[in-house]
Structures are given as C-alpha cells and as structure tokens.
Symmetry: D3
Subunit: 160 residues, 6 copies
C-alpha cells in the first residue's frame, strides 16, 4: 500500500501526530492574513474607538496573540510549539469597508508555525465580529490564507 | 456622554463582559458557515479519505465541536456558555473545488451562541488546512459568516 | 436508514454533540471506581506519606477533582457541565497491594455526569502512577468502571 | 469527630468540592480590589500609553476578564461558574505612585463569585507587572482583598 | 533526614516539580497500553462504525492524541513537554470482546514521556466508553500500563 | 519616533509578543514571594490541618505549581516556557498572623521565568483564601514581588 500524500495519516489511514523528532531545529517564520468586511457605519465605529476609546482592534490583537499560543490545543494534529514571537497588525481599509489582519509567528524548532499564524488571524477577526455584532450581524470573514513561510526543509514559500 | 453602540464598552470606553444577568433564559440557536477553497487534486484526496481511510472531514468535525466548547476562552468578552448541542456538517463542492462547513450551536441561556458557531466553523476549516497543507499551501478560507440566529430579545435573524 | 443505537452519531453516521436542550434539569449523581496495583514496597511508601509527609493520595485527590472540571475539554462529545459536587476517596488495600479510588460527581442539569466521575478517577490513579513511577514502573490500573448513576430519564443504575 | 469549620474538608480531613446542589440560585455579586506600587517613572509610562499608544491598562483589563472565566481551572476546589458579568477598573494614583484595580464579578447561581473577582484582579495586576518589568523589576502587588459580596445565604458583606 | 525514594517530594515531604534542568536532552519514547471490555453487541456496533459510518475508534484516536498534549495540565507534577510524535492504535479483539489501545509518545527532551502515553491511552479508552455508554453502561477499562520506555538515564525498560 | 521603553509595544504602540528568537538559551531562575494576612483563629486552623488533616497548604502548593505551567495562557504577552523546576514553600508566621509563600521557577531557555514564579505565588495564596474564606472573608494578600532573578542578558537581580 502506498502512503497517502496527506502526511497526517499512516499507511493504513490512521491519523497521527507526525514524527518530527529527526528534523533539525531551524528558525521558522509564517505570515498569515485575512479580512473582515462590514457596513461603513461599523467601520466608522471601529475607527473612532481606535483613536480614543472602545479600542476594538487593541482587544482583537491580544486575542490573536493568545490564540497563537493555544493552537496545539485547537488543531488536533498540531505539535505543541514554543513560539518566540507573535505580532498581529490590523489595517482599516475605507475603500473596501474592511479591516485586514496580518499575523507573523516565529519559533526556533522542528516544525513550522503556519497554523499558529492562521489560528491567530482567525481568532483576531472573530473578536472583531464579536465586538461589533450588536450593530452589524452580517459581517463576513474572507481570504484567510498563508502568505509567507520560511525555514525548515521546504524553504521559502510565498502566496499572495 | 452617550453610550457607544458597541455594547462591549461602557460609557467611558472601557471594555467589559456585558451584564446578561437580567436577561431571561431562552432556547437559542445559531448557524454559521464558511468554505475552504483548494486545488482539485487536494479535494480528490479529501474525498478519497472520507470514503475509506484518512478521514480529514471526520477529524475536522471533532475539532469544530471541541472548539465550540472553548469559545469563551478564545474570544475575550464572550460569556461562558453551557451548550446543549453542536453539530458540524461538511459538504464537498466539486464545481467550486471547495469544502463548505456549516455549524449549528444551541443553548438554553441568557446570551446567544453566534460566536460558538463561528468559532467552531473557523477551527473546523483550519483543521482541513492543517491536514492538507503538505500538498496545497495556497488553500483559502472564505465567506465565514453567521447565517441564522434564533432566540433572545432580538428574535429571528437570517443572513445568506 | 435507521438511526444508530450509538446516539453520538446522526443517521448519516456523522458525530455530533447530542441535543439535550429539551431534557429537564434534574439532580444527577454518578459514582465511578478504579484501582491501581503495585509492589508491596510501593504501597508502603504511599501509606507512610499519607500519615506524615509526601502525601501522594492528597495530591491525587486534587488532580481527580480538577480533572472532573475539565472533562468536557478532554472527551470530544461531552457537554460542558456545571458540577455541584466532586469527591474522591482513596483506600489502601494491603491484601491486594493496591489503592482503590472512588469518585462521586453531581450536578443539577440536563445530562449525566458519568464521564466526569470516570475521568476524575482515571486522572487520580494516573497521578499515583506518576508520583511512584520512579520506584515501580510496572504499576497497573484496573477495573475502571461506573458503579452507580442516578437522575435523568434512565433513572437509577447500579454496577458492581 | 466534629467537622472542620473549613468546609472544603470532610469530617476525616479529605478535601472535596463542596456540595452546592441544594442551594437556591440567586443573583450574586463580588467586588475585589488590589494595587500595584511602582517607580514614578514607570507610572508615567503607563499614563502616557493609556492616553495614546502602548495601552498597558487596556491589556491588563482583558487579561483580568479572561482570568475570571478560568478561575475554576486555577483554584482547585472552586466550582465552575457561568459568569453573567465581569468588569475591571484601573485607577492611576499619582500620590501613591500606584495603579489600583477593582473587579466586579456577577452570576446567577448556587455559589459565590469571590474567587472570580479576586483571581481577575490578581491576573490584571500581574499583567501590569509583566508589561513594565523591563523598566521596573521592583514593583509590588499589595492589598489584594474582597471588598463586597452580595447574594446567597450569607447575605451582604463589606470589607474596606 | 533521608530523602524519600519518591522523588516528587523534597526531604521535608513537600511536593515539587523536580529539577530536570541538569539532565541532557535525549530522544525519549514511551509506549502505554490498556483495554476496554464490553458486551459482544457493543463491540459489533464499534466494528460496524469503523467500516462505514459512526467511527468510534477514529474519534477516540483524536481524543487520545489531544490528551497527550494536555498531560502537563492534568497530572500536577508533570513537566510541560514538547512532544515530537504521538500515535494511538486501537485493535478489536473478538475473543475477549474488547478494544485494545496502544499509544506511543516521543520527545527530544530532559524528561520521559510515560505519563503522556498513559494519559492518552486512558482518555482514548474513556472516549470509547462515552460513545457507547448509551447501549452498555457496564464497560470496564483494564490493564492500563506502561509497556516500554527508552531514552534518558534509566535506559530501556520493558513491561508486558 | 523613538521606541517605548516598554518592550511589549512596537514603535507605533501596538502590543506584541516580543522576539526572543535571537537570544541564547541559558539557565534561568526566578524567585517570587508574597503573603496572606488573616485572623489568628484562621491561622490556627491552617496550622492544625497541616499537622493532621485538612491540609490547606498542601493543596495551595499543588495549585501554585500547576498555575506556573499555565502562565503563558493567563498573561497575554508571555512566551510559552518549558519549565524545568517549580517549588513552592509556605511558612506560617505566628507573630504576623500570616502565611508567607515563596516560589522558585527554573527553565533552560530564551526568556526569563519571573512571571511564572509570580503567577504561582499569587494562585497559591488565592487558594489559601478560597479554603479559609468561610471563616475569614477579610484576609488580605500583600507584598507579592520578585525577590531574585538569574540568567539571561540582564544577569543577577535581587529585591527584598
């Protein structure tokens, strides 16, 4: 029987947390991004809060960073990872009436941190949804994706 | 000073977990949905696994259900909620080369379960990403949104 | 298609957290028990510690109680439950060179607390293993089982 | 043998999570407070950040609220509690070169929320320590205490 | 005063998380096993589900892997460990009307992973109990034990 | 724009988990301490329990050790850390009618363990509060502080 190209399954199709013990420790970076689209009035409230009070994006940033640390608990086959850096950046896009989020995660370890960056971006955007849902239930999270990955055997990868 | 329409902030702009103690307990339902888009070859691997071995969608379903229970830990201002039901359905869409996910969450309580449904869908889709990323790093999660909400003072709401 | 007698699956075989929203809240009790068997010398160390210093059983008791509260995170399809009481009792059995553990869990709610009692007993016994493994790696946990259950539609059940 | 006045122990001295199943559900409120003392220069940095950027107190507030929800995991014999409200207020005290924190926690349930308020205040103050420790390792947390408690059999209690 | 042979206690009998800072990092493996015994009809339902729908063992496998990652939270004096591999195998035993579980855990670190393997096996078996308890409350978990350990100062150990 | 001396903020004032990837791994130790003050009668109950039954301090010690392991989840910008040792010592002070707590935390890593020691001491003292609050609601936690720190670029630091 040939192995599945899906490495989280062994040759009999059973899921496992794959063996990374033989991999060398290298510096690893992943960047992920996503967006939340909303009504112009909602975006105006977020912008107003960021400047003075009711800081939606400041709270979303903390939620994103904390979620990165819990990725191994949330994604069943992820390895626990000792992150060395997490940063989350939110940008208000008036034209698109959206907030864009970009998260960078880093570690020095045996496996990549793509899931940490993606999970952080996802929870950051959901936190914006939570805080604004009383005024805009129809917000939509879109285009959550990996945009860059460095380190490890597979080297440098860039999306868009 | 007038209150912010963003109820998670008090009149001075400080974040709080809003008081729901005076709300009546009612049956509450929320449905959320989202999609992950991928290469046709990746979708073929998922379909093959679901039928026989390497069950990506079965594992994503468990991750979604477990994430619903942890929502209060992930989203800073969410209340802890005693969920009475969570179900997650995944549909393979050949035409769009995507997997669609729909989650229903229910409770009998003082506040809604929208965030539980959205968080579950998000983590379910990220679990698919995790299991297929070795063959397709460019997958994209899109259109994560609330599609229905019942119960509580605000009544019935439907998106699309 | 007929439904599975395994209620955690819907009629198409998909796992879900079953709907308990329509159940009435009743007082519920579950008792679970299990044992760990060991060398007589190991049991003597545990007995000595309980009397004066190095209180293995006191620490196992706390681990059991704390694990009961985390059951919903550990067992994928368990509901989150607001436990109203947990007690864990350990008994030294010289004849069998074993420690027996019995846990009682209670709640006032819509679903039973069997898994909470069983998980607590299991983690309590594993904590004994952890603390004594430096002197006795061959310890064995046996006979972990539900011994009683009250409340809810299914009424009173007793095992042995 | 007479029972210990410490209710977390049974008559043989074994710890347990005490039975609250027979208590009636009432509205319960607890307020706790504490302070962190520091160098005037450190306080000036916190004040500057609160006004414009580097919002130490905004992050401490989120940490406090999230900690309140995890109290049952941290304090071994605490019951899990469905909090209905948490608010954390920080006050800058120039004269004392300190930040004071006051947390209010509420639930509608069978047991009090003192530990939730105290744990939240404690983690909020520790978060201030964490964010300022690079410039002031000698900060000191003082006077962490319960200041008010309402609801339940013991009625209204006020400290100072 | 002589030290206790129970290394989790200091010379005065106080529990601590023992110092492993001076140990060298080596590859470490632990294998643990256990069984759950049940009615023949229950085993038939599990077997049927594994082949087509209602995959009890697939869900138990995920629960086991996730529990391995939480061991440090559950067992009070365990060190947090960066696992590099976890695999859980379930075998249906018609003659014994039982399901056997074997878990392998690995890390590259300063302390062993016995507790991770044992905790994973335990939670995997409890998940089977949870999913089948509606049809068979009398199931029994037996013979949970360490079967092999490699790495570290104590070298290779095998049980049976 | 000059950087803030508060390193948890970047030059635009956004919070992040600071990059420690380039730091060398060294042995790190932190010691923290704090006290809880109470009525003489309460202290007498704690002393009685420590000697025979109702071991408040034994339970507080376990709570402290477990909290040290969860620090990264509680303090938003803390790095996850693989602790190699945690010890918590409680001293009864008759003259001050107080219990003093001192925690030592150690790791071999890229960042310090001050927050782990402080969080452990804080939760240990709160656990004493929890177990004695039925007899003494006015207990007060005071003087929680770092007392020593070794390892890393900043070298040896001692408080008092």
């Amino acid at each position: 029987m040939t192995d599945s190209p899906l490495t989280h399954f062994d040759s009999t199709g059973q899921a496992h947390m794959v063996d990374v013990g033989a991999k060398t420790e290298t510096a690893r970076i992943a960047r992920a991004a996503g967006s939340i689209f909303m009504q112009p009035e909602t975006l105006a409230l977020i912008r107003a809060g960021s400047a003075s009070k009711g800081d939606v994006l400041g709270i979303a940033r903390i939620a994103a960073i904390q979620a990165a640390k819990r990725t191994g608990e949330l994604i069943p086959l992820c390895h626990p990872i000792a992150l060395t850096r997490v940063a989350a950046e939110f940008t208000i896009d008036e034209a698109a009436t959206a907030v864009h989020c970009e998260v960078t995660a880093e570690c020095f370890g045996r496996t990549g941190v793509e899931m940490e960056a993606l999970t952080a971006a996802s929870i950051g955007l959901l936190t914006i949804y939570d805080m604004c849902k009383a005024v805009d239930r129809g917000m939509r999270i879109d285009n959550l994706r990996l945009i860059e990955k460095k380190g490890g055997k597979s080297g440098h990868w860039q999306g868009n």
